[in-house]
């Protein structure tokens, strides 16, 4: 270690010498003057791998912005996966505090990460720019299952405790929280089986390895349409529109649970009000384009525009909700 520090010191010295010689080439990325913002490209950090839900969301959004020339400077999308997102998020919030050119997006580990001590940054370290839509969650059974309604399923679960099992993505997720709040509110004792991702959950439900499971509509819609899966409930406040409008909400079924993944844009904390306003406007314009509306509809998301303030409040609510059930999961 000692040798390391000595090395570092030497290198730092060289670096210092070099910068003095070269001139001010390595200028710090301090918050820029507001008048000519933006004056350089934005960096959009996707804290997950390519091809996932967050990645598709961001890449489509940036493509809409580029195609409609909504931003005078390009938005460069960079995947920084690892640490369940905490690497990407701490890169944005810690390493680029106050930098209005660093943007990112949110997912459930944005809230669970700091609560379970995995992530050094929480929602409080971010400026919430805008929320664009929510991803509803569906409670599904296989088409061959004997349960036609949620009430039937839960009645059976109460009669046979510890027999009914549910599949969801990972132990700390929107799926898990929905499951535990449903268990709490219904009084039925059931088993939650965490899986690695939506694909595995789908197999578990279709193959009836578990009694029911949770999936997003974009993953499940094709199977519902083909008659292989049956949706018993949706987790949003109101019913989803379009092909899935016949699915009752959990609220209609008598359980006051609303649990859906908000998708939006965040930036590091310490941004000026003008910059936030600029970004809000830019993304709001993108959300108003027909291409974006088509993407949202195609993927069964619900358009829910929340401006900076409202989005921050929503994050608070989400975080409290996760905190409440984390104790149940962590036991």
């Amino acid at each position: 270690m000692k040798r390391n520090t000595r090395w570092m010191a030497m290198i730092m010295a060289c670096l210092f010498a070099l910068t003095t010689v070269v001139g001010c080439s390595g200028k710090a990325d301090a918050p820029q003057a507001q008048a000519n913002y933006p004056e350089k490209p934005f960096e959009m950090i996707v804290p997950m791998g390519a091809g996932g839900g967050s990645d598709v969301f961001i890449r489509t959004l940036t493509k809409v912005i580029a195609d409609n020339k909504l931003s005078p400077k390009p938005i460069v999308v960079v995947n920084k996966p690892g640490g369940s997102g905490s690497i990407g998020w701490s890169y944005v919030a810690n390493d680029h505090k106050g930098d209005p050119y660093e943007l990112s997006t949110v997912s459930s580990s944005f809230y669970t990460g700091p609560l379970s001590g995995q992530s050094p940054v929480s929602y409080k370290d971010f400026t919430h720019v805008i929320a664009l839509c929510v991803d509803p969650n569906l409670l599904l059974v296989s088409a061959d299952s004997k349960y036609q309604t949620l009430a039937e399923l839960l009645a059976d679960a109460k009669a046979n405790p510890e027999k009914i099992s549910a599949a969801g993505s990972s132990g700390l997720s929107v799926d898990a929280i929905t499951f535990y709040s449903l268990q709490e509110k219904s009084g039925a004792k059931m088993k939650y089986v965490p899986f690695g991702g939506g694909g595995e959950v789908m197999t578990a439900i279709m193959g009836q390895h578990t009694t029911f499971g949770f999936l997003g509509p974009s993953e499940a819609a094709a199977q519902i349409e083909a008659g292989k899966l049956r949706a018993l409930a949706v987790t949003t406040e109101k019913r989803v529109s379009g092909e899935l409008k016949d699915i009752p909400t959990l609220k209609e079924s008598g359980f006051d649970i609303v649990m859906a993944q908000t998708r939006g844009i965040v930036a590091p904390s310490g941004l000026s009000a003008e910059n936030v306003k600029y970004l809000e406007d830019m993304f709001a314009k993108a959300a108003a384009t027909p291409e974006w509306k088509k993407f949202v509809a195609d993927n069964f998301m619900e358009e829910t525009i929340m401006m900076s303030e409202e989005f921050t409040k929503e994050s608070e609510t989400m975080s409290t909700m996760f905190e409440k059930y984390l104790g149940v999961i962590g036991k």
């Binding site: 390391n4 090395w7 290198i11 670096l15 070099l18 910068t19 070269v22 080439s25």
Partner: protein
């Protein structure tokens, strides 16, 4: 070789026990099903147990057949390659990854026995350019940049 085998076995046994000890911090069972500590616990014990076998074998006739695997010159390459690549880790924040790799290529090629300085310098310059072409231009990987701006 006997000694080396015994030392390695001993180290493996220790790490096996360490794992078992560490995994006792994790839940062994949760609601009657294996918890996060279940696999590591048994893996640690198995590692420690199996690691006795190579050590015991060194006391049998079998051991005399073993040649000493470490020859004098063996570590030269080890130090050249591991040393220069560790240096890459250290200087990358300053010079950027491409420059660091270029220097590493030169150092490895020279120290491993390339005679001509021309070749060495050519490699030092050409490899980063090639890597830049492939990884930055074609694959658009965001490589760490240094003070030179690349």
């Amino acid at each position: 070789m006997r000694i080396a085998n015994r030392i390695v076995s001993f180290l493996i046994i220790l790490s096996g026990l360490f794992l078992t000890f560490q995994s006792s911090n994790l839940d062994y069972m949760v609601d009657g099903t294996p918890g996060p500590g279940f696999m590591p616990y048994w893996l640690g014990i198995s590692i420690a147990l199996v690691a006795f076998i190579p050590a015991v074998k060194t006391f049998t006739k079998f051991a005399s057949k073993l040649a000493n695997p470490f020859k004098a010159g063996d570590f030269t390459n080890f130090f050249i390659v591991i040393g220069s690549s560790t240096l890459v880790m250290i200087i990358t924040p300053v010079t950027g990854l491409l420059v660091a790799l270029g220097l590493m290529v030169g150092v490895i090629a020279k120290l491993m026995g390339t005679q001509s300085w021309k070749t060495v310098i050519g490699l030092t310059v050409c490899t980063p350019v090639l890597l830049f072409g492939i990884f930055v231009k074609v694959l658009s990987v965001p490589l760490p940049k240094g003070i030179f701006g690349f």
